[in-house]
Amino acid sequence: MKKLISIVTGAFLFGAFIIIISSCAATKEIADKSSTQLWGENCMRCHNTPPSSAYNNTQWETISMHMKLRANLTDLESAKILEFLKSSN
């Protein structure tokens, strides 16, 4: 019975969590941020910012996915950073 209550509570909290994050859109301030700004802000959280010339555009697509998963970047951040790196190459 105790286990069942834990499972139901866990499922309820997980459901509530999904509803909350799905309903929270980025504010205008965040949505309007330039891709260059996002590149500078997010890479620096763990390591120096890489120059776009470090990899070619195809490699950046793979590396940006690796970084999105490692740092749990949002979809918008990851897409904009990739856009910046490719457009600067």
Binding site: I21, C24, E29, I30, H47, T58, T62, M65, L69, T74
Partner: protein
């Protein structure tokens, strides 16, 4: 006969078409033909592969001991992006230390992107218990040559560096703030009971589970500022750790971790602060010492570090802007009455020179203090390249 005639007509048409195509290609200049061949050769295809990773080598000298070159290591990372939804990442670890070559599989993880908020992953992955294992441990990222106390596989570990299981992860905006999240099921740690000298300690390399219970864990990170400069994270894990069928089968463990990351521009300097606190509480259990006597103790361990780095990144002088000063305090407290007890602290002072964005030369002076013993100094020099 009619069929043969039709076939002949079709063949002739095909030859004429091929011929006209060949003729049209013959009209191309040599440069145009080279461009076509080059673009065909450079076409990336649907599956994108990148070989990344890092390598390092160094010199270390502890106390009055003789200095020695090493350790040296090479960690290739294989990244495959099969599609926008399917991704694989794997890291091999090869290191020469104390005359031995060690091979390891740091991680081997398959990812499937469910939607923009969630990615499900399976395999061996870096533990999202704090951020040190997942984000800061690669030698070209770590500001020091050695890992903090309690975070290294070479000594007693307080908290896992890797997991074997499945996870769900992602990140999302919360207005101007941001959150990121990971939840996972894994084999979890196992409890050492058969070696009296280590009895009660946890082993985190539990590649084959020792019982039916699976560890449940997760991390929640919160970035309150819109510029992502501050991240505060909490992590936890709970599991049963005893061998199936043994008297320790129902012995459990609760692990807790808090982490912080702060980056800020201070005048012409980049300020970078990182910290993590790990605590491991194992349920009460009775172990046997080397003479077969009962051994009971409060099996609680903790390890933590706080690190600060300053780099004058915004000045013009090319040499000075690549210099970084780093300081780190780390400590580890292990259960007092256990046979593997120990209280240890370490102060590290580092001078780093960045050769480029992912290559660094580190010169560290470490002061180790084991409770009840004299302080001992050590010098570590390390060069690390990311690639």
């Amino acid at each position: 006969m009619k069929i043969q005639k039709k076939l002949m007509t079709m063949l002739s048409t095909a030859l004429i078409l091929c011929g006209s195509n060949a003729f049209s290609q013959d009209n191309l200049t040599q440069t145009e033909r080279n461009e076509i061949t080059t673009s065909q050769r450079q076409s990336p295809g649907n599956t994108n592969f990148v070989l990344a990773g890092y390598t390092y080598s160094g010199f270390e000298k502890e106390g009055d001991g003789q200095g020695s070159f090493g350790p040296a290591g090479f960690s290739p990372i294989f990244l495959w992006k099969k599609s926008d939804k399917l991704f694989f990442e794997g890291e091999m670890e090869m290191e020469i230390e104390d005359g031995e070559v060690n091979f390891g599989l740091e991680y081997s993880t398959l990812h499937y992107v469910l939607n923009k908020y969630f990615t499900v992953s399976a395999g061996k992955f870096l533990s999202p218990f704090g951020t040190y294992a997942e984000r800061l441990h690669p030698k070209w990222i770590d500001k020091f040559a050695e890992k903090p106390l309690g975070f290294s596989e070479e000594g007693a570990m307080v908290g896992p560096m890797g997991e074997f299981g499945v996870s769900l992860r992602g990140g999302s905006q919360l207005g101007n703030a941001k959150i990121n999240y990971v939840a996972y099921l894994s084999n979890g740690p196992s409890l050492i009971t058969d070696d009296p000298a280590m009895a009660g300690q946890l082993m985190y390399d539990n590649l084959a589970d020792n019982n039916n219970n699976k560890a449940i864990g997760g991390r929640l990170g919160f970035l309150p500022f819109s510029n992502s400069s501050l991240e505060i994270g909490v992590s936890g894990q709970t599991a049963k750790v005893g061998d199936k069928g043994s008297e320790y089968e129902h012995t459990g463990v609760n692990l807790f971790s808090g982490d912080i990351s702060f980056i800020h521009k201070v005048g012409f300097m980049d300020l970078n602060i990182k910290g993590q606190y790990n605590q491991v509480n194992v349920d009460a259990a009775t172990y046997k010492d080397e003479e077969g006597n009962n051994l009971n103790f409060d099996n609680n361990s903790k390890a933590y570090f706080l690190q600060l780095a300053l780099r004058p990144a915004f000045i013009r002088n090319k040499f000075i802007k690549n210099i970084e000063l780093a300081g780190r305090y780390s400590a580890m407290n292990l259960p007092e009455k256990s046979l593997w007890a120990g209280n240890q602290s370490q102060i590290g002072l580092g001078l780093n020179y960045w050769l480029n964005w992912n290559s660094v030369l580190k010169i560290d002076y470490m002061i180790d203090q084991v409770k009840g013993e004299e302080k001992e100094g050590a010098i570590n020099v390390q060069i690390a390249f990311g690639f």
